[in-house]
Symmetry: C2
């Protein structure tokens, strides 16, 4: 017996999956028209150009047994292998093994925000290269293995390049990643240190993306798996593991409310997909949950559309310190709007000053140094409470998807010593810092 993944009611023929072993993944299916094709390195529907998603033959009938199997699994995303497009023996293959990051009960922050229920930070800075990108890349690596690719690639503004470089090194792939040539030195070093090829493109991120699309169609790119292009359907599924972990870490319970950053919107839609799968399989009890999306004001096309009551997202030119969220034309924007509205959530944005304040608030209360994207979610949580849109008496989970060490520039201008003193007690006394 089997249940289908949340969005997919069709029957599945096992032949779809005859040559490729990606565990419970049996086919690709179009999110728009439902067209179904065999598993392969493609990302858009030939019939309608809609985005392709994984169709699963998910386990069913014995949720208690599955729960025990998961709990006895490794302390990383592979504990959820039965729910992911990966072979059953995935945990034995070389991987940087991301995931199972801390869910931090944030009582100090809750007090400051006036939250009387429970507040939790899902802190993905604990991943191997310190961002949630390790999750999505790890899944893409297994797809690349299955499809016989030998080179891993991506277009990136930094974080993804590092995640691909690290994952490829450990898994034994060559890597060749593309970035705008004028990135900050820190990001360049992080992307290059794993020894793969790093190519700077004279142009902006859009130019890099366009070049990668060209390369995929050319013989020069043969044998190349672009994690966020031709492997995107697999890659995206990595974000589901955030939903699985949050529920397991809450004692196999759904959170009431969850605040998620929006870049392309993929992460938010996949977390929703993951929650629905857990309900369908019977791993958590079905009850309503609300999904909130968080953007930076300087790149807030989804928040704008949400507030204006539109179904369509109008592209913008990003201008914000939250660079990892600065996608002006988010591919999954319409799906995000649908999920926020359907679950009774909302999409909200905060300005750069509020982002910095929120980074410091989280650091000061919980000892977690978040990247700008974490400042966006914490800042938006604060604003949603003030606006009465987020219920402070319920269980709320807020995502921090990256590490403050990667976006030092955001807080550096306003973060420094309380005093500079000479090395003697008089000088210290004058500074007025003694308790």
């Amino acid at each position: 017996m089997a249940v289908q993944a949340a969005e997919q009611q069709d029957t599945v023929s096992p032949q779809d999956n005859a040559t490729v072993d990606l565990g419970p993944a049996v086919a690709l299916s179009c999110r728009e028209c439902g067209e179904r094709i065999p598993l392969g390195p493609v990302f858009a529907c030939e019939a309608c150009f809609g985005p392709l998603e994984i169709a699963y033959d998910l386990p069913s009938g014995d949720p208690e047994g599955l729960r025990k199997q998961i709990e006895a699994g490794p302390d990383n995303i592979w504990r959820y292998a039965p729910l992911l497009p990966v072979p059953a023996d995935v945990a034995s293959k070389p991987s940087i093994n991301p995931g199972f990051t801390k869910l931090v009960k944030a009582d100090n922050l809750a007090r400051e925000l006036g939250i009387t229920g429970s507040l939790h930070i899902k802190d993905d800075s604990g991943n191997p290269t310190h961002s949630f990108k390790d999750r999505v890349v790890a899944i893409a690596v297994e797809a690349a293995r299955a499809f016989g690719f030998t080179t891993l690639s991506c277009s990136s503004t930094g974080n993804l390049a590092g995640a691909v470089g690290a994952a490829a090194a450990r898994a034994g792939f060559r890597s060749c990643v593309f970035i705008p040539h004028d990135l900050e030195q820190g990001k360049v070093v992080m992307a290059a240190v794993y020894g793969g090829d790093l190519v700077g493109i004279e142009g902006n991120y859009d130019d890099v993306n366009r070049f990668c699309s060209e390369l995929i169609g050319d013989p020069l790119g043969e044998g190349w798996g672009f994690v966020n292009v031709n492997l995107r359907p697999y890659y995206g599924e990595g974000s589901k593991t955030l939903a699985y972990e949050i529920c397991e870490q809450l004692g196999w319970e759904l959170p009431d409310q969850i605040v998620i950053p929006i870049a392309s919107g993929s992460q938010l839609t996949k977390i929703d997909k993951g929650l629905k799968e857990l309900i369908r399989i019977g791993l958590v009890e079905d009850r309503p949950y609300k999904i909130f999306g968080a953007q930076a004001e300087g790149c807030s096309p989804v928040s704008r559309a949400f507030k204006d009551g539109h179904d369509v997202v109008r592209p913008v030119r990003p201008d914000t310190i939250a660079k990892s969220l600065a996608i002006g034309n988010p591919a999954d924007g319409p799906y995000v709007l649908d999920i926020a509205r359907r679950t009774g959530g909302a999409v909200e944005d905060v300005n750069d000053e509020q982002v910095v304040d929120a980074i410091k608030l989280l650091a000061r209360t919980e000892g977690i140094f978040a990247e700008t994207a974490g400042g966006v979610t914490v800042g938006v949580t604060k604003k949603l409470i003030e606006e009465g849109k987020l219920d402070p008496s319920l269980t709320t989970v807020v995502l921090n998807t990256g590490d403050g060490l990667k976006t030092l520039d955001a807080v550096a201008p306003t973060t420094g010593p309380s005093a500079i003193i000479r090395p003697n007690l008089d000088s210290f006394r004058e500074a007025g810092l003694a308790s």
Copy 2:
């Protein structure tokens, strides 16, 4: 029934520990003269000025039961609470909960180094503030709580300041940490972002240290717990958890060989102490293990003394990129020499170029971006194999104690793009990077 900690054979009177609950810790005892005093915020023996250590009343008689208790504990250092100077309910107190970091089986690196046994990297960059300092600070915080301190402090060149800032924020302490005023901006930001007071001292690290010693003796410093001064006996015990985790992650087995960086030497001595405790309690089977110490050539007083056959370490003025190991007069140097000699290990050093090469080697083979201290241990491992001092057919564990993101400057000059191209296929073809 009770067994004593490895170095301590005296009987223990429970009254020693009448007022302070730090679990199995019952007294402080001098490593030199054996003098025993009640638990308190002191670090040097009044009788002989020797360093004070924790004396324990460790569990015994049922290693299987203890092993099960540990395995059912939290995924952090508090799973070892029965072996640490912390109250039994420590896991319920606010802490950044470090530890239980990955032990990575490094097959790719093993191949490159000619290791035919098994090689493992204990990767402490996975701690909350991305260095092993989180372990030692977490234990010091519990001691500070027990002794009624309200302010946490330290002298630091960066990493420790960040660890103290984060831990204090989450645990509800005020913090006030002291650094040389001219540190790199990144380290200053990391130390200040958690909202405690950060004081820059006009002087070098030695000046900072001297100032802190003065402050401890002055009413201005009343109520202050300096994690690496008056709380040092507790703080140091945090490093034992590295030994516990390594053995548990090897399936409750001792490694044959372990390579550990040397700064003050405390970490190495405490890992040895931890291994001996596990043997004594019966959690691992007793068999020989060798401990190797690793230094950077530009600050290698212990390596020098080891090679010269001396028992005493002659201080040096540090000059190396491995700044977190740059202690020219290591307090535990003589103990390190004793352990390396007694276990049949060695102390070796590598130069800065070898450190950088080793950082890149580890990144390229295993996808782990280590700080300079990790380059020192990997580089020394390579050298020890070449010299025939480390047996490549055995089980070897190498420590990486920090994160490459914190020491970007070490690799930046030699790490960058393979090519800069225009965004078109011809330009890419000319670069010669197609597969």
